[in-house]
């Protein structure tokens, strides 16, 4: 026994069990399709080292689609390994269907009945011993989220056996459907003696809430409420209060003056930094325009801007020191710009967003949204299932692009990838946008949302036309609504923040370094005047915003932070209409370079380039149109 393959239906807890066995965390949620890639880790079980492999959930071993391909390939590649089938104890029938399919591979197996506590809570019972007897393989009961039964599983692994179930007699020429029907008939016999379930007379609160979430009216109300909650927590509290606190109290008042003082001592050259009064405050936001102020204070702090001592000639050594000084704490300094953007603005926003998002994911609410939007998505050649990658895109578009594998046809995958790259803002950018919306009027925020919805619909429709093919029928399993496990929410948030910082800080530093070099080589001026017709003429933005668009090519959230700084920072240079136009343009940019690479990986270079060639000109087009419509509206 060298390897264990964790296999099972979607959303039964394979990834939690994987974590229990190996100690390695993989993202766990309450909806089918969270794991789309194989994850491996080594662990010590008893006295041997074993490799454990977590696979994406499957319902049918024979199905030939992207979702099951990964798992079937895994089963084929490692023919000598032990299969650990993880089953949702409440859903024994479906699990046994997969057991029978796996049994036909004639390989040693163990069956894990997970969520046995939820079965008991429902009044259900499984005779494990009798089931093990019938199947001829060890059957283990676990409650993976509470790490119950992991030792029992480890103890049962050496007893893994080839199932003794006789395969179903299939008439010649029968299709997979006939086979599954015969298997299910056999399963009914199996379950007769081993499984019982008594339904409670009244549905529980979670069940009722689950129904409300799918109801045409109550569901929309619940959805609006969830949206409002996200807006308050991320846009007002995270991007307002927390960012203010970190940006002014930590960075502007303490860290960056301290960094400037230290560097001035280490790299002396004749210059003097400006000293300004920096106001700071802590407030609890009530609405975009109302807040309750708790503290307010003001301190004198060193600013990044400086003037050379008049009359002093810089020696070569001093000029070098000045270069390093500017690289670290200058206007485009790695410390004063890149780190303060990444840690003071993006970090609080993604933290609040990931926290709420993890809560929503674990509750099982997201798939219920699919039911509500199914009709609308039909217009774009998609079905409701596509809402899962789209909502995940609000977390990270690159990861979501990978999740498009749960969609059945190539057409659906391409349309969804396109819409993700174009109009779904990812977490960091969404937070910045929410903050900008808070700075604008509610009407402008509404206009932005309507515009994005219109873009989604139009481009979705067009892409669906360009890429021929069929839309698959809408068939989606709805997981039960659960109370989120706070431990898992915290773990997931933490792992996402860690991943985000590893991803975002190097890119922010690199982007700032590019700006710094361009500035030093006086190319920034050149680019600004080169881009003038586009930025000033077409978009009606100040010349300085060319920088924002430039870094926006690298990561659109970086561009958005730049815009936010220009819109609400100490030296605000944008009027409301300009904020709106910049917001629209940056939202429509491709999210980041990583996203481009992911598109190329999933759909090929050609598709990736075609999308890029469409997205950037389109973003400018819509931005310019928004400006003209806005001017026309304010003219009347």
């Amino acid at each position: 026994m060298h390897r264990l393959l964790l296999v099972g239906n979607p959303n039964v807890g394979k990834s939690v069990l994987f974590k229990n066995l190996t100690g390695r965390y993989v993202t766990v949620s309450n909806y089918p399709g969270t794991t789309v890639e194989v994850v491996r880790a080594r662990t010590q079980l008893g006295d041997r080292s074993v490799e454990v492999i977590d696979t994406p959930g499957i319902n049918d071993l024979a199905a030939a689609n992207d979702e099951t391909r990964v798992t079937s390939a895994m089963l084929e590649r490692h023919p000598e390994d032990v299969i650990v089938q993880v089953a949702d104890a409440r859903n024994l029938r479906r699990a046994l269907l997969l057991t029978m399919q796996l049994a036909e591979l004639d390989r040693p197996m163990v069956l894990v009945l997970n969520m046995i506590d939820e079965l008991a809570a429902k009044g259900g019972r499984i005779d494990t011993a009798a089931l093990a007897e019938e199947l001829g393989i060890p059957v283990v009961r676990t409650v993976a989220v509470r790490n119950h039964g992991t030792e029992r599983l480890a103890a049962a692994l050496p007893r893994a056996a080839i199932p003794s179930l006789e395969n179903v007699e299939v008439p010649h020429g029968a299709g997979e459907y006939e086979r599954n029907r015969l298997r299910l008939a056999r399963i009914n016999e199996l379950m007769e003696g081993t499984y019982s379930l008594r339904q409670p007379a009244r549905p529980s609160l979670a069940v009722r809430l689950g129904f409300w979430a799918m109801h045409p009216v109550k569901g929309l109300l619940l959805g609006a409420l969830a949206l409002l909650g996200v807006f308050w927590f991320v846009g007002l509290f995270g991007a307002g209060t927390l960012v203010d606190l970190l940006e002014t109290a930590v960075f502007e008042q303490r860290l960056s003056p301290a960094a400037i003082t230290t560097l001035d001592k280490m790299l002396p050259f004749p210059h003097a930094h400006a000293i300004e009064a920096v106001p700071g405050s802590v407030a609890v936001p009530l609405s975009p325009v109302h807040e309750v102020e708790l503290f307010a204070w003001q301190t004198e702090a060193l600013r990044t801007g400086y003037t050379l001592t008049p009359g002093a000639e810089l020696t070569a050594g001093q000029a070098t020191r000045r270069f390093v000084h500017d690289f670290l704490v200058g206007e485009y300094g790695a410390l004063t710009m890149a780190l303060s953007y990444a840690l003071a603005i993006v970090l609080p926003i993604v933290t609040t967003f990931f926290l709420l998002f993890s809560l929503l994911e674990d509750s099982g609410y997201l798939p219920r949204m699919a039911i509500l939007v199914n009709r609308v998505f039909r217009l774009m050649g998609l079905n409701g299932k596509a809402v899962l990658p789209m909502v995940l895109g609000l977390g990270c578009d690159t990861m979501a692009t990978m999740t498009t594998r749960i969609l059945e046809t190539r057409k659906e995958r391409i349309v969804t990838t396109m819409l993700l790259a174009l109009a779904i803002p990812c977490s960091a950018q969404l937070g910045v946008l929410l903050a900008m919306m808070a700075a604008l009027s509610p009407a402008a925020a509404l206009a932005w949302m309507l515009l994005m919805a219109a873009v989604l619909l139009t481009v979705g429709r067009l892409t669906a036309r360009v890429f021929p093919g069929e839309t698959s029928e809408f068939l989606l399993e709805i997981p039960p609504l659960r109370r989120p496990q706070l431990g898992n929410v915290w773990l997931k948030t933490r792992s996402r923040i860690g991943w985000y910082l590893r991803e975002v800080i190097p890119l922010f530093v690199a982007g700032t370094a590019v700006l710094f070099l361009l500035d030093k080589l006086r190319l920034l001026e050149r680019i600004a005047s080169f881009g003038q017709p586009l930025v000033v003429g077409w978009l009606g933005l100040p010349r300085e915003m060319a920088n924002a668009l430039l870094v926006g090519f690298l990561r659109r959230d970086f561009g958005a932070v730049y815009v936010l700084d220009a819109a609400t920072g100490p030296e605000a240079i944008l009027d409301p209409l300009q904020i709106f136009v910049a917001m629209v343009t940056i939202t429509l940019f491709m999210p980041c370079f990583a996203n481009f690479l992911m598109i190329a990986k999933e759909h090929g270079q050609r598709v990736a380039w075609a999308m890029t060639a469409f997205i950037f000109p389109f973003a400018f087009l819509v931005g310019g149109l928004a400006l003209r419509v806005g001017r026309w509206l304010s003219g009347i």
């Binding site: 199905a63 479906r94 459907y177 339904q199 799918m214 039911i371 199914n374 029928e473 068939l475 989606l476």
Partner: protein, 156 residues
Amino acid sequence: MAERYLTCPLCGFGFEPEDALCAHGCPLRSHCALVRCPACDYEFAEQPGRGSWWRRLLGSGTAEATDGECEALSVDQLRAGQTASVLSLSGSRNKLAVFGLVPGIEITLLQRRPACVVQVGETELALDREIARRILVRRPGGPPAEPEGILGTGGG
């Protein structure tokens, strides 16, 4: 695209129009309104349409009683909360079978709009109206056992 599925009103056998006994070689061909059940040779008229679009739109969610004797309904004709046993499937049947939805099993329609949601065992499945139309169930006898009991009657 839309696949029709016929159910014999006499013996309850479900079949596709191509399997109807008289379909091959009959000089009347498509001009004939009658089909013959391949199981019992009973000849009957194909089911009439499901009413006009506005009846479907404004309908209270109950099945339009097309003809009293009709034993089979499609799932979307059930009332929300009703449980019925599946008679036959058509179209991409295996996609449903892997969720345990096969003829003989009891399913409960949980809601009809904006998409149908059915419960099969412990699985809740959201489906398009098009798929729901292709799942034929036996007309449940009398009113549903518990008008409010959304979970249906599980039995002891």
